[in-house]
Homo-oligomer: 213 residues x 2
DNA sequence: TAGATTGTTAATCGATTAACAATC
DNA sequence: TAGATTGTTAATCGATTAACAATC
């Protein structure tokens, strides 16, 4: 009922904490202090403690944090302690890359269906999932109770696909089309704007160039 | 000499301004006020004016901003008024998607070479560029004066590829491997952490769920 | 117990927003 | 000229950092 309202800055840091804790786990490290994490990740120890304490008390004074426990708790915070039924719309290289990626690191995101409008590739099977005609998208999403739709179509069709996904009842959309799509505010939206990212890189290169001169 | 030190927040907004100004251009719109931009993009008019004035005076009091002029100026600010020699390392689906993408929206990022370690695909041609053996990467980068390296290899090999690119003398790296690579601070680095993005989406879905209950 | 490190409050810093004088 | 809108300063807000008491 009472939304705690977590800032976007913290949301962006959480997956990073998770990544490093996973790394420590593979190293067999059992315990870590905020200072050690600070050295590893690059955030201040103070910020790390503040971030964790937004969600609970996960440490032990005088000792530090249990890597295993903290990793599990952050997974819970991120909502990674469950499975998400997922579809990919648009099976070009990007769609296939994302499908493989999600398949490979399979932790909770099950690709239930692939969709495309191109008749030449409909019927093709990728990672045990058949590519279906996009005209079946809405029915499939509704029938199967799909949670997440991944949009890998072009700019022109992205909004229409998003509308269909929302009508079908998805809870979240991961958008790769280079456009800001519009959806109801009770559906989560995460967009990856590759061109924006590339242009930010261009800016940084230019800035470093100017500094040198 | 004197670095103006532009905040990361502004850097992230700049490509977005560019995107919307490009959109206004295709609509044939010649003039826009900070209030109109605010409505369109979602930032406050005050922030928009502040952002622009970090770099210069691009508007005219009582009138607004010339779309064409502002678009050109933002391109200059972003360093998009030049060409970048670019290579892609790793030609799986992701590498090919990025190659196609960069080829399709060809504005300044020329893919000069593609590299992979897989002998089965070396020699294959994508968008007029042949896939070469990764062992030739460093020589190629040095010889051709490559500016940007795009890393689309797996986590295990990403740091080694980055090292090679830096040795070859690139000015910037666009990294898609799910790891924080380490490079000298005079080389620009932009990482796209797909898993972090997906996990942020998961968090947002969970938060919206909890709000509903 | 003494030392270490968290949890948390208070201080600082930076970014965003509001307000308005300048001026087209 | 009057109206509109920028450029810019000042006020506010929020996020980060510092400090330290609590406590393992």
């Amino acid at each position: 009922m009472n939304k705690p309202k977590v800032s976007n800055a913290i949301i962006r840091r959480l997956p990073r904490y998770r990544r490093y804790l996973g790394y420590l786990q593979t190293k067999g490290i059992k315990k870590v202090s905020s200072n050690e994490l600070s050295e590893l990740i690059g955030y201040t120890a103070s910020q790390i403690r503040q971030d964790f304490n937004t969600f609970g008390e996960f440490g032990q004074q005088g000792y530090g944090y249990s890597v295993d426990y903290l990793y599990k708790e952050i997974n819970k915070i991120l909502g990674l302690d469950r499975e998400y039924k997922t579809v990919v719309v648009g099976c070009g290289h990007l769609g296939q890359a994302i499908t493989n990626y999600t398949y490979y690191y399979k932790i909770g995101f099950n690709i239930m269906g692939l969709f495309d409008v191109n008749q030449d590739i409909i019927g093709k099977v990728i990672n045990d999932v058949e590519i279906m005609d996009s005209s079946e998208l809405k029915d499939f999403v509704t029938r199967e109770g799909v949670d997440i739709g991944i949009i890998c179509v072009n700019r022109e069709n992205a909004q229409a696909v998003a509308d269909t996904l929302v009508e079908g009842g998805v809870k979240g959309i991961w958008n790769f089309a280079p456009i800001d799509i519009d959806i109801p505010k009770d559906v989560a939206l995460e967009s990856v704007h590759l061109s924006d990212s590339l242009h930010a890189l261009s800016f940084m290169i230019k800035s470093l160039n100017e500094k040198e001169q």
